[in-house]
Amino acid sequence: MSLFSALNTATRGMAAAQAAIQVTGQNISNANTEGYTRKRVELSPDSRRDGVYGSIGMGVEITSIARIRDIYIDQQIAEQIGDRGKARVMDEAMEKLEGLFAEPGDGGFNTHLNNFWNAWQDLANNPSDLAARGAVRTSAEVVTDMFHSVAQDLRMFRESRMEVLDSKVRILNGLMRDIHNLNTEIASQEAGNSRGAANDTRDQRDLMVRQLAEMVDVKYFEDELGRVTITTAGSLLVGPTSAVQLELYSSSKMLPDGSMSPVITELRFADSKKVFTPNGGELRAIMDVKDVLVPKYQNYLDTLAKTLVTEVNALHSEGYNLNRSTGVFFFDVSQTTAQGIKLSPSILKDVNNIAAAPAGRSSLPINFLPVGGVPALADPVIRLSNINPLYRDIIPGSLNIEWNGQSLQEGPGKDYVVDYQLGTIHFINYAKYGAGDALDVTLRHREGGYPGDGVGSLALAIAQLRQTPLLKPDPTGKSTQTLDQFYSSFVGELGIERQQAKSTFDTKSFLIAQLDSRQQSVAGVSLDEEMTNMIKFEHSYQASARFISVINSMLDTLLNI
């Protein structure tokens, strides 16, 4: 061994210390960088040449700059983080729904429905009182407004999920593309034997994989060239040389009964057009919120509105109002959804059209053949009262007229129109009948007549609908839930669902925090450690420099001989 080679040894020592201090600097600089993995210079003694007495070595060699990271923890995080993303999206959605129903409080359906029923009771107490009638109408309008506003909010919320989904898919596509690009970069940078060349690129890619895993449930592994392959539910998302792109499309399926199902949104691969159904992650949750969760509550709300309309109308249309007529509907019969529910035009026009008094019993169906069949063409009207003075107040829906064995159609522009109260049937298209053609009329009418302005038992019967089970029939077809119970049970369901989502979120967050902490404990930068290292490498550098000066003086000694 020569002194010159000792100089070389010292130089390499200085170079190694320099490199190490640079890495330390990099670590310190990135102490707060998300996803940064601490690096360490791996050194080994260069002992290529053997001396006569044994190996002295040729100084130090930098083998690699290692990334200190536990990739198994990353895998575990990837498994959990999708569930957390799903739970978070569900929780946020249900928080919104809870807010819409505003329970428990004085602004929710519970309160408004209670006021509505109570208004009917007050009307039953004072049937001829205009103020009580006004109160019934106002309280009903508050209920319908509440229906509209909640239904509208639900619809808007559902629509906005579409936009969220769209932007998520865009982000997802971007991530997959970027990961694929990084794969290529890492593979080329680390080609040959330069392990560790792409350390920072790897950090970046790990971060992206993690983001991806939060959106879709994925599995991934790294091949020998350092490229990750990402799969989900058996489909390839990012392969060694490719990355797929996803797209959204809306579809509606043909149901067994021939009708079309509501439009739902699905994901598919952009190139193969194959449907892709994520099983977890934020994407699944957004799709569920949009196509399962919100529609479920929309359905509940519609059922509530429909039952209210149908049941109140059924009673109301049978009753007498202050204008002494029957057959008036309280709610508009054509609107049975939460979105559309409204009062009928006659009630909006005049509160005296609110029926509080019961009509008489409905008779059994009567069946008769008008004498002379179809009236003479000059007067195409049948007055039932001419046949029997009792035949007025025909119960709507009970009338059926057959002409030569064929059912006639009711309605303007069809075969006949009816004044149910007066009991007149006005034939429209009467030119087609021969005078005296046989008509078969079946109807039910009321007996008893107008019971008086002070009778409110119909209003009472409507108020008592509150206590009547109207929903959720048991196997025998008997309803088991009142409107109140139905409503509170779905609000309760909402509460339970949110509680579950929240607790899943908390559990998963805790797990991930634990895993993150473990990863930080391996991969995180410890400033104290870096400081110590800095001093260590500084000393090492100084020592090598000192060594050169010693060799230098030795060479001096030698050259001055």
Partner: protein
Amino acid sequence: MSTRVTFSQITTNVQNEINKNYVRLDKLQTSLASGKRIMRPSDDPVAILSSLAIRSDISQIGQFKRNIDDGKALMATIDSTLMTQNNLFQAAREKAIYGANDTQGAEQRIYIGREVRVMLDQMVAMANTSFKGDFIFAGGNTQVAPYELKPGSQTLTTELTVATVGTPIQIWDTSVTDSNTPSGFARAYHIIPGSFEVAGFVEGTDYTVDYVNGRITFTPPGTDALTQAGGAGIDLSYEWIRRNELDLDAKLHREVDKGITMQINTTASDVYGGVNDQTTWEAMITLLDGLHNNQSTKMLESIGKLETGFNRSLGAQATNGARMNRLDYTDERNTTRTVDMTRLKSQLEDVDFAEAISQFLLQQSVYDASLRTGARAIQNTLANFL
């Protein structure tokens, strides 16, 4: 946990813990400020079910209370009306007994008759008592007075011939049209004795009247005059008590408890007798008839009829009183239940302040501690000492 602890681990933990504590503090603060334990369904889904049911119950019971109050006000009016009514019955019966006394002369009986007439007017007014604009004895037809003390008139022309002399003739009130009768006018009945006048004729001599059923019988002594008058017409004028032809018997109900309804009104038929009964008016008319025509048999007959009417009215008052009692009991029970329900609701929904405040203070010190320790833990690195 491995032994290597890094800077970012500590900062993340410190941040997480501070945040967690702050969230808890916020939640406690919100519930303290609002006084509510449950702000959203997910705070306690099971309690929310009970809470909504209880809210409905409280609202319903409140309504029952209003129904009961409303019913009781009506019943109190009925009660006091019947009280007066029964006093009038007592007085009328006394007058009947007094007038039936054979020592009374015709003149005196006329004077007694005037007193009784005032009582009758008062009774009709009682029967037409209204409460909040509704006639209380009118069943469902609360907007129309059940009885009317109305003047009636008729001009007899073709009804009266030689052949009809000596047979009762139905009196029709031609000032009222009624399409349901053959004559097209209202059949008069319950005509008040003393108000009846036939121009040019004298009661007792020329004709007699069945005041209860509204029939006049001309007697032979007046025949000559009658046949003379037949062409020109004979004018009848009178007052009669007309029962409204609408249904006065509808029973009005109030819901006083879940599914339990109670009749709150008392109908005209309950107090005065229905169309087929021997009515109070019949009794009073019979009494007036006796007093007016100086017939003690009629007065004695009226005593029995008044007795029947009095008992009917007393019965109606007793029934009304019993219903009021029942309403009182129900009301009392509903009040107790409201108190219970409200307490239950409060237990479910409201914050237990003592507990919440102590928790809040505890949480505050935990938060404080997490801030202090956090601040210490992230303060120093080795760099400070180099």
